[in-house]
């Protein structure tokens, strides 16, 4: 069923690309504890990718496994949110992006635990525990950095403003979401908004940060219609070995 295939790619691709971005920090973060935590989050996200894309490959039934989907598609076939392609920026920008995504991710997975698809529910249940930890952690750091020094406050507000219209893409509905919702597989993205708003508002308030008023949603990531220029560069790096040595196994 192609709608489900594509929907699973949306889940898997966002995990994959965010995992890639987060992994760029390895060995470069401001404190050892962050090196450890960021590597751990990247590890979890790549784990989720394997499950989502693995299932996508099965659903598609053309013999592509998770690796084939991750390493042999070009940018136009990716279905991740634009938010996760954004460059890391400073660690504050990375953590703000993480929080906005985690707050969506936890709600998304919470709903999927009751999916009509057993397989989807199973994956969601496994991922939920890890993502609970992700969101606790990123929320905590957003609060501490927002309500830290003037400098950190300024950086976090700037990151929030910069990510905001990207985050809005996570709540856009389209025909594919409609089809998947009608099949009882997953809630419409717009339905995740109230819980997300509540958590985000609470955290931003404690972080002394101002929620941006811009409701404009950047689009084109989850539909694949218009990614950012970053995705191609990410894939060139990520896929090099599989592209250069198509006959090898690793």
């Amino acid at each position: 069923k192609p709608a489900l295939f594509e929907w699973l790619c949306r889940m898997g691709d966002s995990s994959l690309i965010l995992g890639h971005r987060v992994s760029e920090w390895c060995g470069h973060s401001p404190v050892l504890e962050e090196d450890i935590a960021l590597a751990n989050i990247a590890l979890d996200l790549i784990g989720h990718t394997q499950m989502w894309l693995g299932l996508a490959g099965e659903v598609e039934g053309k013999g592509r496994d998770a690796d084939a989907l991750a390493y042999r598609r070009d940018a136009a076939d990716f279905r991740n949110f634009l938010l996760v392609e954004k460059q890391n920026g400073d660690i504050g920008s990375t953590l703000m992006r993480q929080f906005l995504f985690d707050a969506w991710h936890i709600e998304r997975l919470r709903g999927l635990k009751g999916s009509s698809s057993e397989r989807v529910a199973e994956i969601a249940t496994k991922a939920f525990k890890e993502v609970s930890y992700h969101v606790d952690r990123s929320a905590d750091l957003v609060i501490r950095l927002g309500d830290g020094t003037d400098e950190s406050h300024r950086r976090m507000q700037k990151a929030l403003d910069s990510h905001w219209t990207y985050a809005n893409e996570m709540f856009t509905d389209d025909g594919l979401d409609e089809a998947v919702a009608e099949a009882g597989i997953a809630m419409r993205p717009s339905g995740l908004k109230p819980a997300w708003d509540a958590l985000v508002d609470e955290v931003l308030a404690e972080a002394t940060l101002t929620r941006p008023q811009n409701d404009f949603a950047r689009r084109g990531g989850k539909t694949g219609e218009r990614h950012t220029e970053h995705l191609g560069h990410i894939l060139a790096e990520m896929q090099f070995l599989q592209r250069a040595y198509p006959d090898a196994s690793w």
Binding site: H28, S29, D35, G47, D90
Partner: protein, 316 residues
Amino acid sequence: EELEAAFQARIDNNERIEPKDWMPEHYRKTLIRMMGQHAHSEIVGQLPEGNWITRAPTLERKQILLAKVQDEAGHGLYLYSAAETLGVTRDDLTEQLLSGKMKYSSIFNYPTLNWADIGAVGWLVDGAAIMNQVPLQRTSYGPYSRAMIRICKEESFHQRQGFDIMRKMANGTPEQREMAQDALNRFWYPSLMMFGPSDKESVHSDQSMKWRIKINTNDELRQKFVDQTVPQAEFLGLSVPDDKLAWNEEKGGYDFSEPDWNEFFQVIKGNGPCNEERIEARRKAWDDGAWFRDALTAHAEKQAQRRGEGVLQAAE
């Protein structure tokens, strides 16, 4: 004098020295240097492997590599904590790394250039590290010894993973096989260097062995490493890049060529292939992260103050 004799007696008696125990200043200093260098090596060691995380060829390999690099950061954390029991702070040690006052293992000044290098680092570099570290589980300083016990367990896991990559590469396509051989060629001698110069030339050895913060001589360990590794290379079907390599029945070990110690000293001096990049990367992480660390401190202070005010108000 008396204290020192008692101290030495405890060591000779195989007792562990603990942080609150009396110890000679030089013992303390030597340990700080050793543990600090070891911790720095774990931290800098993230970089050559981190170089391939974004290019790992499968999702599973990417996970394994991420987990490994995460472990290394964790080892760094154990070791800094153990060093802190001797009265230095992690920040002090970091500053000394960045200023060049303290070193890290010079192996990490070599670049990782193809995917098989990730295998070779696990197989050879972690292999050599384990060889160095296993005896240190019995070292005289308690916190160091306990850190080494935890670390050695994980390292041997890493070594198996590295060997697994090498096996896959050595049994893969002709290009993969070439990469595997190339990796072995480039990492063989630097791995031998990891045991340090020959004992005749090693500066700190005697006193350290007496204090049991060094257990075996450099040459012993190097021989042991070669004896262990050569059959593994044969199993992989790869050739060790040493014309002189030959089994010596008499000594029950291999004869082998010494690494180029001139290269070793150049690398120590800063002329290794990646010295500048490695330290730059760590300096950038440190400098760019200053605002982050400051913010966490500021927030903690605010919180403490708020708690204090809360207590005050409750008392009123």
